[in-house]
Symmetry: C2
Subunit: 236 residues, 2 copies
């Protein structure tokens, strides 16, 4: 075992494409992944899931993972929506949400009247022509458009094939409004720092494991961590 490997005390794990393949049916676990989580925990390594999942609240997400056999609690999940809520409150921003229906409860405590920003998540079926035009019109009507994107992934794999991820729609709105989105979630440095704080391990003693070369591997490396790319999920 290499010297750096002996120093590892904690793992950040991406979820979709690493632990399971998502899908309209809820998704299916990747063979051996539940056992891997069990063995990581039994070995004494710390573990935190670091996900850009924005199609469900953390509570529902963990419920789904547990039903698939993963021994995971809500505190072991770092996800973009709670991070976005902190940012909105800090800056007095009132969002118009273009997100998945199942994510809306994460923003229950946030003032959404008279929006002065747009929050974009992986809205899936909510990415309609009408909804995209609505978000665009709100942004273009602002003196200084503020677009907050929960991740900037290009695409991901579901059980019925590849799907465009939030990053593609972020680029559409960026171009139309001539603005740059603020990304909350991987690969943002601040997001990895939150995940490490929750993991309780400094970057040089942690490894990120994911299937996305930009969001997972690149983001972690920019934060001073090592990273491993799995050959499941979107890996081609």
């Amino acid at each position: 075992m290499a010297g750096w490997a002996r120093a590892v005390r904690g793992l950040l794990l991406d979820v979709s494409g690493v632990l399971y393949d998502s899908g309209a049916d809820g998704g299916v676990p990747i063979a051996g992944s539940a056992e891997a989580v069990r063995r990581i925990k039994a070995s004494g390594l710390k573990l935190q899931l670091c996900t850009n999942e924005t199609q469900a609240t953390r509570e529902d997400f963990v419920r789904k993972l547990r039903a698939m056999g993963f021994d995971i609690s809500v505190a072991e999940v770092t996800a973009p929506a709670p991070a976005a809520c902190r940012l909105l409150k800090e800056r007095g921003l009132r969002p118009h949400l273009l997100v998945h229906d199942d994510l809306v409860p994460e923003f229950a405590e946030v003032d959404k009247t008279n929006p002065n920003c747009v929050v974009l998540g992986d809205a899936a079926e909510n990415f309609t022509y009408a909804n995209l035009n609505e978000a665009f019109r709100l942004l273009i009507g602002m003196e200084k458009p503020v677009l907050i994107s929960l991740g900037k992934g290009r695409y991901y794999k579901e059980t019925d094939g590849l799907k465009l991820d939030v990053g593609a729609y972020m680029k559409a709105l960026e171009y139309a409004c001539d603005v740059q989105a603020e990304v909350v979630g991987k690969p943002a440095r601040r997001f990895f720092e939150s995940a490490l704080a929750e993991l309780g391990v400094p970057p040089e003693q942690a490894i990120m494991i994911g299937d996305d070369i930009v969001s997972d591997v690149g983001g972690a490396q920019q934060c001073g961590m090592r990273a491993l790319q799995v050959r499941t999920g979107k890996y081609r």
Copy 2:
């Protein structure tokens, strides 16, 4: 009158936002525009419409303009779809179309079996989550993805408000597939050159008139023409 103005022998006119504001109801002419077309023609100036309109065949487009009172024939319209058809044939490309239903007849003569490229137009209501995912999957499955975009406008004005234009969706697919689209239509140099050839006037004796600073004004200037921006349409 300035010297250059005396040299002008022909005009290229953008249509949406210059002659009329488009809309689900077919659109409404901008006050004075039909009379302006009549006076241009009566003055002896040559005139060609240079449009990125991709929501209808040229025949239907001209029928609509004539019903609004514009004295225009099909030969006086330069539009992206016929230009794209020439390009597809030249390069042996078989397109998957993500375009407006009413534009499909323009591609009647083109082989569309076993697609080896995607042609993107202003598909409007056809910009669904499912259709965008389908176009994305075809592109990402190609050894060398070829994306042809009928224009790269950011947005345009309809009678019920601003709408995202084809350029926004082009950017989404470009980002997801890590490719650069080939743009047919304004502001592509080749497209302006076609319009000038149809106008029968060299660039230094022609003026482009439009409401889009990039597609109309910038594109024409790069082609050696002068250009004027109107204060109707998307002008803000």
